[in-house]
């Protein structure tokens, strides 16, 4: 596949804070590439550098064969950005907003009007196009926000947490639109801290935290990283020595007084392990069982839960 986006050794600091630390990745044409990470992981800083809003301290960005440092304006012309916040003029109608944003990309006259109509149809807001944005619901605002980044029919689309703070129904609509765009050959970078979103729509995922990409690949490749095993976490009033014998052949991921994390092959072995644990009469406060998933991958590669 043709590489549409190539990022090498990208870094950016804000004073003492190193927001992005030498990350690198590639995105193929027509691919949905996801950035999964908690708030403050460096997702928005990465998107800002990709969109030309922030200059990297070091590293390079090449998009569609053009270097961002020397062809920033040309790259921005083929790129659509959907920011995390609702970046719209609330006093204007949805249509007026789209006419303005489309105009900034050089569209004019009939071409602009047609593009706006197409974008409005895509997000099913043609009926409310003449109403001021301030009268829209949260989900509708998100959709028109998405629309504003698509009106000029970009080749590359950067979506920064586009489903933040909306109801499940509106989220599904937005995800459907994003999938539809990928089907039409658009190259998409999608940041999120929702695991299920990343699993659902991304072709490849990069796990990012503290400005570092810990792992990247397809969902299957990432799950393989944790060995495709079930992870069981037990907490309670026990010492490390008390439970060591119970583990048997299972792989211990983490053990200390009061907490044990083990990787088990399948559900049968998990049942046997828990049965043995309870039969010892040890005081157990809680048990968490994670099937092989992105969440367990995240925990495995970053050493912590994906937090809000």
């Amino acid at each position: 596949m043709t590489e549409m986006i190539v990022v090498k050794e990208l870094s950016r600091s804000f004073g003492e804070i190193r927001a992005v630390r030498g990350i690198g990745f590639t995105v193929a044409r027509g691919e949905i590439f996801g950035f999964l990470g908690p708030n403050g992981a460096g997702k928005t800083t990465t998107i800002s550098m990709l969109s030309g809003l922030l200059r990297p301290d070091s590293g390079s960005i090449t998009i569609d064969g053009m270097d961002m440092a020397s062809h920033g304006r040309d790259i921005r012309r083929i790129m659509g950005i959907i920011p995390q916040e609702i970046a719209l003029y609330e006093e204007l109608s949805g249509r007026d907003n789209l006419l303005f944003w489309g105009g900034l990309y050089g569209l004019a006259g009939g071409e602009l009007r047609d593009s706006v109509d197409r974008a409005l149809e895509l997000v099913e807001l043609i009926d409310r196009a003449k109403d001021p944005v301030r009268t829209y619901s949260g989900g509708m605002k998100r959709r028109i926000n998405l629309c504003a980044g698509l009106v000029h029919d970009p080749k590359i689309i950067l979506l920064d947490e586009p489903t933040l703070g909306i109801d499940p129904q509106a989220r599904i609509r937005i995800l459907d639109v994003v999938k539809g765009l990928a089907d039409r050959g658009k190259t998409i970078i999608y940041t999120t801290h929702y695991l299920e979103e990343a699993e659902h729509i991304c072709d490849r995922i990069a796990i990012i935290d503290e400005g570092t990409i810990y792992a990247s690949g397809t969902l299957a490749e990432l799950v393989e990283l944790v060995g495709g095993k079930i992870m069981v976490t037990v907490s309670g009033g026990f010492g490390a020595g008390d439970v060591r014998e119970l583990v048997g052949d299972a792989e211990i991921d983490h053990i200390e007084n009061g907490e044990l994390r083990v990787k088990l092959l399948d559900r049968d072995s998990t049942g046997r392990f828990l049965g043995g644990l309870f039969s010892t009469g040890l005081h157990v406060d809680g048990v968490a069982i994670r099937e092989p998933s992105l969440e367990s991958v995240f925990l495995q590669v970053t050493g912590r839960e994906l937090r809000d």
Binding site: G52, L104, G106
Partner: protein, 426 residues
């Protein structure tokens, strides 16, 4: 260019869709003018300071004495502080701004009135004051009209009384009888009211900087002093500065709201975005100014004066307002800082510039400081246009200062904003 115009047009469209804040800003000067106008109006109780008037009596005759005495009697004595001076002294004092007005009665004034020869009284007004010289002008005009009418009605008897006036001898009883009959007939004929004036009046403005007489007034027929024309320019400047500030604050709001970064992520350059925003501030402030001028004319019957002077002064004023506000926003990094700084700066500029209190009533030190306020030059120029029908040449200094201030603040302000945006500091 299309991108700049697109951003500019979008900002105007947004203001049209949501005009409340701009309307409120337009209402500030209108309300201020209305209130001050009502307070200073006929029903208002206002304490007017005693007006310093210099009187040069080159005649020393009966009628010049009548004029001088008349101004020092009754209520006028409480209002005017008349000082008799020589012509040279008078010119010097006026050039130093030590009096509100100078009245010069020409040589042969009395004799010419008695002979029916037209005479002219010269009034020189202090250019740095407005209200007080205009009061003197009105009083002098009234006295001149009284004297003129009286001299016509009593022209016959006065001729007979010439010996008294000239101080030669007392008339006989028969002469006095003739005088009284003549006066009676004069009153009946009221000839003087329908004829051309014998005594005319020349109105001049003296520059405080030098002794040159710079303008001959044309406002005698305009129906007198309009307090709204005096108050509106200063009030207008407050409103216009606040409007320019409101529009430029949008850059900060758009940064936090996300529309500015979104614009910058498009192919539009940072310079185009800043130019569009500053252009929108200029355009919206200009539209607001035109509305205020229309309100002044229609609502307050203000004579807007010379159209070309008004046009140039308006453009220069809006350039100054936009430039100063752009510069300030170039130095301010957040809405919070803007909240703390901008209103204070505008109010201080307006206060020193004479928008809130009459400039001529400020102590001389404050007047001197006021000349450093851009508001002074904007308001002062507009007052001259409204009150003295000043032309372009009369306000050329004002225009030059306003344009210089505008350009010298607009260019660095624009560069500062651009630099902040480019560095990601916004």
């Amino acid at each position: 260019m299309n991108e700049i115009l697109g951003i500019l047009a979008n900002d105007i469209r947004r203001r049209l869709k949501s005009p409340v804040s701009v309307i409120l800003m337009i209402l500030i000067p209108v309300t201020m003018t209305l209130i001050v106008g009502i307070v200073f109006g006929p029903s208002g109780e206002v304490t007017v300071p005693k007006i310093k008037v210099l009187l040069v009596d080159n005649d020393g005759g009966f009628f010049s004495g009548f004029l001088m005495q008349g101004m020092q009697q009754g209520e006028l004595a409480d209002m005017l502080d008349i000082t008799g001076v020589s012509a040279a002294e008078g010119e010097k004092m006026m050039s130093e701004g030590k009096a509100s007005a100078l009245i010069e009665i020409p040589q042969g004034f009395t004799a010419n009135i008695l002979d029916g020869v037209p005479v002219e009284i010269r009034l020189v007004k202090n250019s740095s004051e407005y209200f007080l010289p205009l009061v003197v002008e009105e009083i002098t005009k009234t006295m001149a009209v009284l004297l003129d009418s009286g001299s016509r009605i009593f022209s016959g008897p006065m001729t007979r009384m010439r010996s008294i006036i000239d101080g030669e001898s007392w008339p006989s009883t028969g002469d006095m009888e003739d005088v009284m009959n003549g006066a009676r007939n004069g009153v009946i004929l009221v000839y003087g009211y329908v004829a051309d004036s014998l005594i005319t009046f020349r109105d001049e403005v003296a520059s405080a900087a030098d002794t040159a007489v710079v303008a001959a007034g044309e406002k005698e027929d305009s129906g007198g002093f309009n307090i709204f024309a005096y108050v509106m320019p200063g009030s207008m400047m407050i409103g216009l500065l606040f409007i320019a500030e409101l529009i430029l604050r949008d850059i900060l709001r758009e940064r936090t709201g996300g529309t500015l970064p979104r614009m910058l992520a498009s192919p539009v350059t940072t310079s185009q975005v800043v130019a569009g925003k500053v252009g929108a501030a200029f355009a919206i402030t200009m539209i607001s100014c035109l509305i205020l001028l229309a309100v002044s004319r229609i609502g307050f019957s203000v004579d807007l004066g010379d159209p070309s002077a008004l046009f140039l002064h308006t453009v220069a004023t809006i350039l100054m307002c936009t430039g100063v506000m752009t510069f300030l926003y170039g130095a301010i990094s957040s809405e919070r800082a803007a909240d703390a700084v901008m209103s204070v700066v505008i109010i201080v500029m307006a206060l020193f510039g004479g928008s809130m209190v009459p400039y001529e009533q400020m102590p001389s030190a404050l007047q001197a400081a006021g000349r450093f306020s851009p508001v002074f030059w904007a308001a002062d120029g507009m007052k001259r246009i409204f009150l003295f029908d000043a032309g372009v040449s009369d306000i050329s200094v004002h225009l030059a200062i306003l344009v210089a201030l505008g350009v010298c603040s607009l260019i660095p302000g624009t560069l500062l904003i651009r630099s902040r945006i480019a560095k990601g500091g916004w």
